[in-house]
């Protein structure tokens, strides 16, 4: 289980997280929603120790990872896979090498076996025949899908997705959602998904958390969230300009 306890984080004078409390259940998909620039990516990076909170605890399987040394943190990270918002593919490597990277680093599988796994993962995200292309030769949506394939290459126990469907067409969005749901179910993964897409939120999430002004202001099942009377949430889900969220 992943537990965030009273996380505070500022960059310079800007307070981004202001006391986040959240429990992420094992074997479930938790979706985090919230406004652009609201700190969702920052929150996700805390879960895997890329950012350290100014105060608070990040507990992964009963270990507070905030105070861990590099070596122990590395061990914890082997449980994780992560899709970055901009994919973060290695641009000195082709698609095959990118997806194969975690396999080559942490398993003793043979070249041929790795290639088969990579092709299988790429097929799952709807890509074939791109193994030899470099990341710079791919479209934004294709890069995202390669990043997705890399994140699930090892079948890690916990996968963090930073906006897996942003920038994809509606059909591909549906396919990726389906892929997340399927993989989650088959391997009993713990998934954390950041999403803006209201449709995806309810199809993918077992639990939904809304981040607003540095806090989790609402948490619950999709049904509960749909019924919520919280004005911020109502405005967010309906995409209305009227309400407590100030855009302009």
């Amino acid at each position: 289980m992943i537990k965030l306890v009273d996380i505070h984080k500022s960059f310079g004078r800007q307070k981004v997280l202001d006391g986040v409390n959240l429990e992420i259940e094992d074997g479930k998909t938790t979706v985090i929603i919230g406004g652009s620039g609201g700190g969702k990516s920052v929150l996700l990076k805390h879960i895997i120790g890329l950012l350290k909170p100014d105060s608070g605890q990040v507990i992964v399987d009963d270990v507070d990872i905030v105070s861990l040394n590099d070596r122990d943190l590395n061990e914890i990270r082997k449980k994780f896979g992560m899709l970055f918002q901009d994919a973060a593919l290695f641009d000195s490597m082709n698609v095959l090498e990118n997806v194969a990277f975690p396999l080559k680093e942490h398993t003793r599988k043979k070249e041929k076996e790795i290639r088969e796994i990579v092709e299988e993962r790429l097929r799952a995200v709807g890509l074939t025949g791109v193994e030899d292309k470099m990341p710079s030769e791919l479209s934004g949506g294709m890069r995202k899908r390669v990043g997705l394939a890399r994140a699930i290459a090892m079948h890690p126990q916990i996968v963090l997705f930073d906006e897996p469907t942003t920038g994809l067409d509606p059909v591909m969005t549906e396919a990726i959602n389906e892929l997340i749901i399927e993989t989650q179910k088959i391997f009993d993964l713990t998934c954390v998904v950041i999403s803006h897409d209201v449709q995806s939120i309810f199809t993918v999430g077992h639990k939904i958390a809304m981040l607003y002004e540095g806090k989790i202001i609402e948490y619950g099942t999709p049904e509960k969230i749909k019924m919520s009377s919280n004005p911020v949430l109502r405005q967010f889900l309906s995409g209305s300009l009227e309400g407590p969220i100030n855009v302009i």
């Binding site: 590099d70 061990e75 990270r77 973060a88 593919l89 290695f90 641009d91 680093e105």
Partner: protein, 259 residues
């Protein structure tokens, strides 16, 4: 009064910043050492960097070495001619190249070519979150990215310096003997008489040290880049300036210690 205080304040802060940066470079160097001895050694990555730092620098090092040797012969000739000691041109060129100009010029050229590229490459990886991605995949970026570059720098700089030394002497010979008419036998004889292996070893030791400086500084600047494409540009410039200055300053102290 306030202005003076502010000036002192700024000055002090600049010094503190510099000391802090020195400290961080030192820490990076120590962690490079630590990761270097921890298996597995990533040979493929090391060879790729050696190719980039070494093989691909040969052409510019050949050019630099040759012309430096040529101009030294020319300058030396006019000086020595006044004392009718033209035959000393050969040994002057050879000593100058092996002890000083070979290592220093090679290091400066490689800094401009490869040190800057290291900063730019790692800087881009930093701002596009590729370094974060390495952490996430439980791969230490110091081991994966920096160790191979530092090894390549330390190993390849002496080799390139040998090339520069040789080409410099050859260039000196070319200008001295056929063009200026110095006796060929005297030219070569003087070199073998005046230059001993110690001179060459000292030069190569310097070169290895310069290779360490340029790779560690280049990696440090790139690794700690912030601020997008502009930040990458800044990191690259700073890497070249800091590495070049450090090479020239350390050259003095190395010379003072060794000779």
């Amino acid at each position: 009064m306030n202005k003076i205080a502010a000036t002192i304040d700024n000055f002090g802060r600049a010094i503190l910043d510099n000391i802090e940066e020195m400290g961080r470079i030192l820490i990076l160097f120590l962690s490079v050492l630590m990761w270097m001895v921890r298996p597995p050694l990533k040979l493929r990555l090391i060879f790729r960097q050696m190719e980039f730092v070494g093989v691909k620098s040969i052409f510019v090092v050949v050019l630099t070495g040759t012309f430096t040797g040529m101009v030294m012969a020319l300058q030396g000739y006019y000086g020595f001619k006044m004392f009718n000691a033209e035959s000393l041109v050969g040994s002057t060129v050879a000593l100058g190249m092996t002890r000083e100009l070979g290592p220093v010029l090679t290091a400066l050229m490689v800094t401009a070519r490869a040190g800057s590229a290291m900063a730019a490459e790692l800087g881009t990886m930093r701002v596009t979150e590729q370094i974060d991605a390495l952490y996430v995949m439980a791969t230490n970026p110091v081991k994966h990215l920096i160790v191979p570059r530092v090894i390549a720098g330390v190993v390849m700089l002496p080799l390139l310096t040998v090339v520069a030394d040789f080409m410099g002497i050859l260039g000196g010979y070319f200008v001295g003997v056929p063009i200026l008419g110095i006796n060929s036998g005297a030219f070569v004889n003087n070199i073998t008489k005046m230059v001993d292996l110690g001179d060459i070893y000292h030069g190569l030791t310097k070169a290895a040290f310069f290779g360490l400086i340029l790779s560690v500084v280049g990696c440090h600047k790139g690794f700690n880049t912030t601020g997008g494409a502009e930040g990458v540009g800044r990191a690259t410039t700073e890497a070249v300036v800091l590495a070049s200055v450090s090479i020239l300053i350390s050259d003095y102290f190395l010379t003072a210690i060794m000779f």
